[in-house]
Symmetry: C2
Subunit: 230 residues, 2 copies
DNA sequence: TTATAACATTGTTATATATCAATGATATAA
DNA sequence: TTATATCATTGATATATAACAATGTTATAA
C-alpha cells in the first residue's frame, strides 16, 4: 500500500474539514495525534467491502469512487471529492464496509482511529451534528441515485449524469472526467458498450463534444429534454 | 386527513423510541408538549415528496411504505415498522422530502415540531448519537437495496425479497404481507405482471405457498440458490 | 343483491439492453 | 523500436423484461 506520514498540523491544514471548526484546540490535537495521512495512487483501494471499520476516512485531497462489488459487475454509487468524509454511515452503523472505495487519482486520506472519532463525536454535540448533516446529505444523494437508475432508460440516465457532472460537480460545460468508459458505465449502471455507443450518438448529434475523457456539453437543453423523456 | 390528538404521556408510552431513554424528564416533557399523534388509514400519505419538512415523524404503531414517485411508476425503497423514525435524513439534511411515505395499515404517527427536535438533538449528544446510528443503519439498508436491484435479475431479486421478509422482517416462514402485488412489484422494481408470474412459478414448483397476501416459504434453500444464481 | 371498482392472473408481443465478437487506438514496458 | 496490455469502438445477436390485452376474482358500495 501507499506511503503514510503522521499528521503534524491539523490546525493549519488547508484541506481540513469544516466540521473541525466545531472542535476546540485540544480535541483537534487529539485527532492530530491519532491521524495518519496516507497517499493512495489511482486504482488503489482505500477501504474494502466486507472488512471492518477501524478508521474514519477523510479525503483531504484527490478524488475517489465508492462502489459495490457485485458478482459480475460493479456499481459506482458515488464519486467523492476532496475535503469530504467517506462512509460515515459505516462508522456510525454496523462497522462493516458494504462497499469498496478506490482512488480515481493520487489522493490523500486522513485515517483517524474510529474509536477516537466516535468518542469525540459523543463528547461534542456540535461536531456530531455537522457529521450527521453530512451523512444526511449523502443519504439523500443515494436516494436520488437509486431512483435515477431505476426510473429512466439508458439515454435519459446518461443525459442526467452528464448534466450532473457539468452543472453540479465541475460547474463548467467542459470537464475532464477521471473515469474510464467502463467506470462511467458502472456509475450509470449500464454496459460499457452501450455507454460508448450513446456517448458517440450524442457527439454525432452535436449535443456533446468528446476528446478522450474530456467532455463538453454543447446543448444542455437537448440533454435536459432527453432526460425528461426518460 | 386523519384524526389527531395531543400527546399526553410520552414517559409511559408503550411505543416510545429507545432513543428517548437518552433524554431526561424535562426534555421528554418538551417533546410531549410539541407532539401530535396522528392516525392515518391505509393508503393515506404521511408525507409527500417535494414538500418541506416541518415535523419529525415517528411511527409509533402500524407500518408504512417509503417510496419515490416517478413519472410512470413508483419505487418503494423501504417498509418501516412500528417504533421507528421516518426520514431522519430529511430532517438533518435539506429539509425537503424527496420521497413520499404512506400508511400500509392504520398507523399512528407522532409528529414533533422539527425545530424542537433539532434543538433537542443539538443540546443532547447521547440522543443525537442514537438518531445518527439509526440514520446510518437506514442508509446502509438502502445501499444494499440499490445493489440488489441492479445486480440481479427478476427471479433472484424476488427470491431475496421473500427471504428478507421471512427471515429478517417477520422471522417466520409464514407471513402476511401488507402489500398488493403492485406494491410488491414496486418494492422489487419490476412490473406487476412479472411479479405475479414469478410468484406463481415458485408456487407451482412448491418453493413457496401463497394464499392471497399470506406467504409461506417452503424451501428456503432453493430460494437461496436462485438468489445466488442471480 | 346487484353493480362497480380494485386487484390478480395469464398469454402474446415488442423492445431495450446485455452479451458476444472483432478490431482499432493508445499507453506502457521491455 | 517493438511487444503487450489496457482502453475504446462498432456491429450482430440473444434475451430478459416491460407493455399490451383480455379475463377472472374478490371486495365494496349502492
Amino acid at each position: 500500500m501507499a506511503k503514510f506520514i503522521k499528521a503534524n498540523d491539523c490546525h493549519a491544514c488547508p484541506y481540513k474539514s469544516y466540521s473541525l471548526t466545531k472542535l476546540d484546540g485540544t480535541d483537534i490535537d487529539n485527532i492530530q495525534n491519532n491521524c495518519l495521512i496516507v497517499t493512495f495512487k489511482r486504482g488503489e483501494n482505500i477501504c474494502k467491502q466486507g472488512t471492518e471499520v477501524t478508521h474514519a476516512l477523510y479525503l483531504a485531497k484527490g478524488s475517489v469512487k465508492l462502489f459495490v462489488e457485485g458478482k459480475n459487475k460493479n456499481l459506482i454509487l458515488k464519486l467523492i471529492n476532496e475535503r469530504k468524509y467517506i462512509g460515515l454511515q459505516s462508522l456510525f452503523g454496523d462497522r462493516i464496509y458494504n462497499y469498496t472505495v478506490a482512488a480515481l487519482e493520487d489522493s490523500q486520506i486522513c485515517m483517524i482511529n474510529a474509536d477516537i472519532i466516535l468518542k469525540l463525536a459523543q463528547s461534542n454535540v456540535e461536531y456530531l451534528f455537522e457529521l450527521t448533516k453530512t451523512l444526511s446529505e449523502s443519504t439523500n444523494f443515494v436516494y436520488k441515485k437509486i431512483v435515477d437508475i431505476n426510473q429512466k432508460q439508458l439515454r435519459g440516465r446518461l443525459a442526467d449524469i452528464l448534466l450532473y457532472f457539468s452543472e453540479t460537480v465541475f460547474k463548467n460545460p467542459t470537464f475532464d472526467l477521471k473515469l474510464t468508459r467502463k467506470e462511467l458505465a458502472e456509475y450509470s449502471s449500464m454496459s460499457m458498450e452501450n455507454t460508448v455507443r450513446i456517448l458517440n450518438e450524442y457527439k454525432k448529434d452535436g449535443i456533446i463534444g468528446i476528446d478522450g475523457r474530456a467532455f463538453t456539453i454543447l446543448q444542455p437543453e437537448i440533454l435536459r429534454k432527453i432526460s425528461e423523456l426518460g
